[in-house]
């Protein structure tokens, strides 16, 4: 960067573009940079899978069953002769959008109910609190297994299960945030100029609680990804022939010793995605804590 450019960047600090701020932070924190790079690659794969894998993820070729990784099939083939590389690549969008989508639902519902419970308090808070305690009395994955198992395996039920499991976490974060925000002077000021409850809640408190919810979203993402994969592995998630990382692992588990590539690669993708988001989240957390 030339001298002139760096001075202009410095003088423009308050209005600096978010992208530039992120990149500058990445230069200081190598692990954040790694997380950023990995996330970018994974997002590209999820958005444009056909750029990365030319073969079809669902075409069956029984003459090419269970082939070991080769130049033609980078990750080998499965029992039905499908190309594992393209199944994993095309599964990226399926898996990640289920995880991201369920978490958006959980964050939305948990967030809304959380700030209401925290702001209104008293009976509302107690009633919500009891409900949340009940959900929390089940270990997350058990609840996921039961809900998607009982309702039957499908993408909708999987999303439902994952979002129910994680509503309480967002609820608690939002509730705690709302309680501490409600005690601030600006809320008192808003009330004294005659703003109504809902207006204060959604215009002011929500805006201040939002960063907490977003950070929690990043922190939880790897966990939810793993539970999504676990449910897929148990046969309770996405059903064949749709490619999904957990489901590919499930298909591979009977061939674990003869065709380990069926299990190795989708698991590696799960791990790398979880790693990417974890590194990003840690970086952001570090930044927020100063």
């Amino acid at each position: 960067m030339t001298e002139q450019a760096s001075t202009s960047a410095r003088s423009a600090r308050p209005t600096q573009s978010p992208l530039r701020r992120i990149l500058r932070f990445a230069r200081k924190e190598p692990s954040f940079a790694l997380g950023l790079a990995l996330t970018a690659i994974i997002l590209l794969i999820a958005l444009f899978p056909s750029l990365f894998a030319r073969q079809s993820p669902t075409d069956i070729d029984t003459t090419a069953s269970l082939l070991a990784p080769s130049a033609e099939h980078w990750f080998g083939t499965d029992e039905l002769g499908r190309d594992v590389y393209s199944r994993v690549i095309h599964g990226t969008r399926v898996t990640l959008s289920i995880v991201a989508g369920s978490m958006v639902i959980a964050a939305f519902l948990g967030g809304i109910f959380g700030i209401i419970a925290g702001y209104v308090g008293r009976l509302t808070d107690m009633a919500f609190g009891r409900l949340i305690d009940v959900v929390l009395s089940f270990p997350p994955i058990i609840l996921g297994v039961v809900i998607s198992g009982v309702l039957g395996p499908s993408i909708q039920n999987l999303v439902l299960a994952l979002s129910i499991v994680y509503i309480p976490v967002f609820f608690r974060i939002a509730r705690a945030g709302a309680i501490s925000e409600a005690a601030r002077t600006y809320v008192e000021a808003a009330r004294s100029v005659g703003l109504t409850g809902p207006a204060i809640l959604f215009r002011h408190i929500l805006r201040n609680v939002m960063p907490l919810i977003m950070l929690q979203y990043m922190i939880l993402f790897p966990l939810v990804l793993q539970i999504q994969a676990a449910l897929g592995f148990l046969g309770l998630g996405v059903q064949p022939p749709t490619p999904d990382w957990g489901a590919i692992l499930e298909e591979g588990k009977d061939y674990i010793l003869f065709a380990p590539w069926l299990s190795l690669f989708p698991g590696l993708f799960i791990m790398v995605s979880a790693l990417a988001v974890t590194l990003l989240g840690r970086g952001i957390q570090k930044r927020m804590n100063g």
């Binding site: 009395s137 039961v146 692992l249």
Partner: protein, 317 residues
């Protein structure tokens, strides 16, 4: 202490009752009940047979009546009869629970023995190379899916040592060697993840403690590092470490579903899965109740330990 305990117990009981209602309702949200499934498998039947079976299972009664009669049994330790196996559910669930309990406790021991020392070392040498290495282990351990780790371990031991675990589970009192051989990989795969979690948490505690005034004072007055660590830091982070142990135990309790099904262990998790598949309501309810109950007990015990270790903590004001 007495009134605190009482309050805590009441809260747990209320949660337990609400959870039991949840357990009961979840199971009945099934599209297509056990009767439809049985008749479907036997090739269809008239509505008379269907009605007869429904009344045999008590499914013709209103929901609240079904719940109350189930709850009445539960309070007497009777979880009903399995619809599929015809055995008492209490017996089935307890048998499975002992397997899960052994797996859980041994995993907890493994995670503690590996995770806590790693976390302490990383915390003490914050920012050094060894800290970076341990943190890398933590993040990788937390990113790898448990069941995938299990699969990889299975591949690794069979290719490297040409050894594979015995296929049939034996209790520790029947054949201890076989029992441990079967449990080795499940404990490792669950344990590595939890060790990573424990180590990360311990590191945070140590790093946090170093920035506390009492540590700075102790160091400033010239106490050797070793004394400060043993007498001040360890003692102060102990309470957090114990609390975290409970959290880990509950995590393990959840993790067993996948691990037990991967390694074919006859524990609570696999029981739950097979019971869901066969729509064996009483067993699903019993197994779920056992899981929830164990989690509640763990939380209660941790709360009490908290209270004993640090009497300053008085949740009831």
């Amino acid at each position: 202490m007495g009134s605190y305990l009482a309050k805590r117990l009441v809260a747990s009981i209320v949660t337990a009752i609400l959870s039991s209602i949840a357990v009961f309702l979840i199971v009945r949200a099934v599209p297509g009940d056990v009767v439809a499934q049985m008749l479907g498998q036997s090739g269809g039947a008239g509505s008379q047979a269907e009605d007869a079976l429904r009344s045999f299972f008590g499914l013709d009664q209103p929901l609240y009546a079904q719940y109350l009669s189930w709850l009445g049994g539960v309070l007497q330790g009777d979880l009903g009869q399995s619809w599929v196996r015809g055995q008492p559910v209490t017996e089935i669930v307890l048998r499975a629970f002992t397997v899960t309990l052994q797996l859980g406790l041994m995993t907890l021991a493994f995670a503690t023995i590996i995770g806590v020392p790693l976390g302490l070392i990383a915390g003490i040498y914050e920012g050094r190379r060894i800290d970076t290495a341990i943190q890398a282990f933590n993040i990788l351990g937390l990113s790898a899916p448990v069941f995938w780790l299990g699969l990889i371990l299975l591949i690794a031991v069979s290719t490297l040592f040409s050894w594979s675990p015995p296929l049939i589970y034996r209790g520790p009192f029947v054949d201890l060697g076989d029992n441990l051989a079967v449990l080795l990989l499940p404990i490792l795969s669950l344990g590595i993840l939890q060790a990573a979690a424990y180590s990360q948490f311990t590191r945070q505690c140590v790093v946090g403690a170093f920035s506390e005034d009492y540590v700075r004072t102790a160091l400033a007055k010239g106490l050797p590092m070793r004394t400060v660590f043993a007498k001040h830091i360890l003692r102060n982070i102990l309470i957090s470490l114990v609390t975290f142990m409970g959290l880990i135990l509950i995590q393990i309790l959840g993790g067993v579903v996948v691990i037990e099904s991967l390694f074919a262990l006859p524990g609570l998790g696999r029981l739950l899965l097979t019971a869901i598949e066969t729509r064996d309501y009483p067993v699903v309810q019993g197994a779920l109740l056992m899981v929830v109950f164990s989690a509640l007990v763990v939380n209660l015990v941790i709360d009490m330990l908290y209270h004993i270790i640090d009497p300053r903590v008085r949740v009831d004001k």
